[in-house]
């Protein structure tokens, strides 16, 4: 057996906890301050143009992030069962099932479930699932649902696609004026975009530091520390948080400190984390000196905003999200990451829940292996529903893969 290796903790984790606790406390007690301050609460998809909502003083809440919390706390399987008993298919995304389950059985749900929404905003740039999921929510809560339809991009983004989304954003702004009773504030939106831009560039910078050998961060760090850029995108709190994290990561690089002691193997991760086994899963790697130096998932929040006037910028930024793009684009992205981060291999999580992310992986895997010459492993699991995870077969594959890399 390989000897135990110590995993280096980040001091910023405390600040992260504070930031997230504050966000969820505000969310939880929204009923006390939302109405007096005329700040409605919206449930939004992770790829929704949140800066526009923030410009209307809306408090955004992310059921997908909540799904990840359910996964980390190992209650997803229970909540999924509740949704399944109500007739939702076992093939439906486990974030959707966990969330719907949490609405039906708040007693089983972390934080007693999310507080009721005043409106719903869904954008199909990440998947088609969110449309039906949010339609179900709109029926349950009888609140308005705003949908942003972003056409799939088989190649580069086109003016036509941007124009189409731009028009919808204008309509959305008009709808939000009615819902919130506030006027659309272009200056306010610009401010929000600026905050997003700065936060994104910090997150990019942090990720770029991981090109260093040894890498200052491992995938579980990235997955945990991405939370603020997901739920607090476009706010001062996230900007403040990533400044602190950037300083700590930079310090590690300056000192030559790696996340994994004795880093020998550098890997790239593809797909959403396996939340209910976050540390256990990666420990099998870190124990043998293998570090995940970058990934495609948390990298989704490191993409710079497109130029142009605010609404136009939003239109192309949110249409160009990687899950909305071709297989060639995704393969190229992996190849570049492997080269840029000097990786020896990659691991793809074939995530039963997330079809747009997972269906094309096998083709990408072969293409990336052909072009880079490094091996790629496929692991079958689910991001939140632990019933799908078969520990022994996974461990077996992981061990064989590491042996291949060590040989």
């Amino acid at each position: 057996m390989a000897e135990q290796r110590r995993y280096r903790p980040l001091a910023s984790t405390r600040q992260l906890e504070k930031t997230m606790t504050r966000y969820y406390a505000l969310t939880r007690y929204h009923r006390l301050w939302g109405r007096p301050l005329r700040r409605p609460l919206a449930w939004v998809t992770s790829g929704a143009p949140v800066e526009l909502l923030l410009a209307f003083n809306i408090h955004p809440v992310y059921p997908e992030n909540y799904g990840a919390i359910c996964g980390t706390r190992k209650v997803s399987a229970k909540l999924c069962k509740v949704a399944e008993a109500a007739g939702y298919s076992q093939d439906l995304c486990s974030y959707a099932r966990s969330h719907i389950g949490s609405i039906m059985r708040p007693d089983l749900a972390p934080m007693g479930g999310l507080p009721r929404p005043d409106l719903l905003v869904a954008c199909n740039n990440i998947c088609g699932t969110v449309l039906k999921w949010y339609e179900a929510l709109a029926r349950i809560f009888n609140v308005p649902l705003l949908v942003l339809d972003t056409p799939y991009l088989p190649g580069e983004v086109t003016g036509h696609a941007v124009g189409y989304v731009h028009e919808q954003l204008k309509e959305m702004a008009a709808d939000l004026e009615k819902i919130t009773g506030r006027r659309f504030d272009a200056r306010g939106l610009e401010k929000r975009l600026l905050l997003s831009k700065e936060t994104i560039s910090l997150w990019r910078e942090i990720r770029e530091f991981c090109r260093a050998e040894p890498s200052p961060l491992n995938a579980p760090d990235l997955f945990i520390h991405m939370a603020p850029i997901v739920v607090l995108r476009g706010t001062k709190q996230s900007l403040k948080y990533y400044r602190q994290l950037r300083d700590e990561v930079k310090h590690r690089v300056d000192q030559g400190l790696g996340a994994v002691e004795n880093e020998k193997i550098r890997l790239v991760w593809d797909n959403i984390a396996i939340w209910y086994r976050l540390f256990a899963f990666f420990k099998d790697f870190s124990q043998r000196g293998a570090c995940f130096v970058t990934d495609t998932y948390s990298g989704g929040w490191a993409v710079e905003l497109s130029p142009g006037d605010p609404l136009e910028s939003l239109a192309s930024t949110y249409t160009e999200i990687f899950l909305n793009r071709s297989l060639e684009f995704r393969a190229r992205q992996m190849i570049d990451l492997i080269k840029d981060f000097n990786a020896h291999g990659f691991v793809m999580h074939s995530n039963r829940s997330c079809k747009p992310y997972s269906l094309v992986q096998e083709v990408i895997r072969r293409q990336v292996m052909r072009e880079t010459g490094v091996p790629g492993l496929m692991v079958e699991a689910d991001m939140a529903d632990s019933r799908v995870f078969a520990n022994e077969p996974v461990k077996n594959r992981v061990q064989a893969f590491i042996e291949t890399l060590e040989a």
Binding site: E362, M369, P375, G376, E380, N396, A400, E403, T404
Partner: protein, 269 residues
């Protein structure tokens, strides 16, 4: 003070259905092997089998310089090292067929395709999804439904005149398909041929992922089943090389790794 080092190496493969042990000598030759049903405690079965090898060879434990364990029960066995059976399989096959580039292995609950580089290193591998379709377990369940011994399946398949189609990949549903074929009065050989085709189709699909480069070696207990061998060869359109003892090749690889890791001719104190 120095004394002569022992020159035997043990490989132990504790699989989900069967446990295999192989002893090799300094020249990497197999000098003894044994297999048994894994049952409840693979570790105990493996220890018993290893002990039986020692008796057969009139050796004592001291003569075994190193042991490597592989297979699902690998961590339970007190070996010098444990390794995945993918790495061991590639090594074992390379020893027997040094031109092999593809290894297809159908074990109890896994089927896998391994791409092997010259020297026996693994370059890529894929395994079945975590379900029993296309594995030895699948065949066992079907044999149970047909009330025949698994060992008879190969011979029966060869007698088929018009093979049935088994379309479900789920073991439980496929079993009910078999039962409905029985009820419809189809012959056992035709049903068995259908079952073998179904396993072959699953494994052929796996092979498509890694690609197929000759020579192709087929290992694992299922490689003794002629029905699956013929169906797979036909579906892949290639010749399949089969070791004389296809179930012990991963244990052989483990034994060879044991030989690698054992201290070499160093005086023991």
């Amino acid at each position: 003070m120095s004394k002569p080092v022992s020159k035997f190496y043990l490989g132990v493969d504790i699989g989900s259905l069967t446990t295999k042990v192989v002893m090799v000598d300094e020249e990497s030759r197999i000098i003894a092997r044994a297999t048994g049903r894994t049952g409840f405690s693979g570790r105990e079965v493996a220890s018993r089998l290893a002990a039986s090898l020692l008796i057969e060879l009139q050796l004592s434990e001291k003569d075994v310089a190193a042991t490597v364990a592989t297979g699902y029960g690998r961590v339970t066995f007190p070996a010098d090292r444990e390794m995945s059976e993918i790495t061991c399989q590639a090594r074992g096959i390379y020893q027997l067929f040094n031109k092999a580039e593809t290894v297809i292995d159908i074990g109890g609950q896994d089927s896998k395709v391994i791409k092997v580089l010259p020297g026996g290193k693994v370059s890529d591998f894929t395994m079945n999804d975590k379900c029993a379709a296309g594995t030895g377990r699948f065949l066992e369940v079907m044999a149970g439904a047909l009330e025949v011994d698994v060992k008879e399946l190969g011979g029966l398949a060869e007698e088929a005149s018009d093979s049935c189609s088994i379309s479900s990949i789920c073991t439980v549903f496929a079993e009910s398909e078999v039962i409905s074929h029985i009820a419809a009065g189809r012959t056992k050989p035709d049903i068995v041929a259908g079952v073998c085709n179904s396993v072959a189709a699953r494994v052929a699909a796996l092979t498509a992922r890694t690609g197929l480069a000759p020579d192709v070696v087929f290992t694992g207990g299922v490689a003794r089943n002629k029905g699956v061998v013929n169906a797979l060869a036909a579906q892949l359109g290639t010749r399949l090389l089969i070791p004389d003892e296809p179930e012990i090749t991963a244990a052989l690889g483990a034994a060879l790794f044991a030989r690698d890791i054992a201290p070499k001719n160093k005086p023991c104190v």
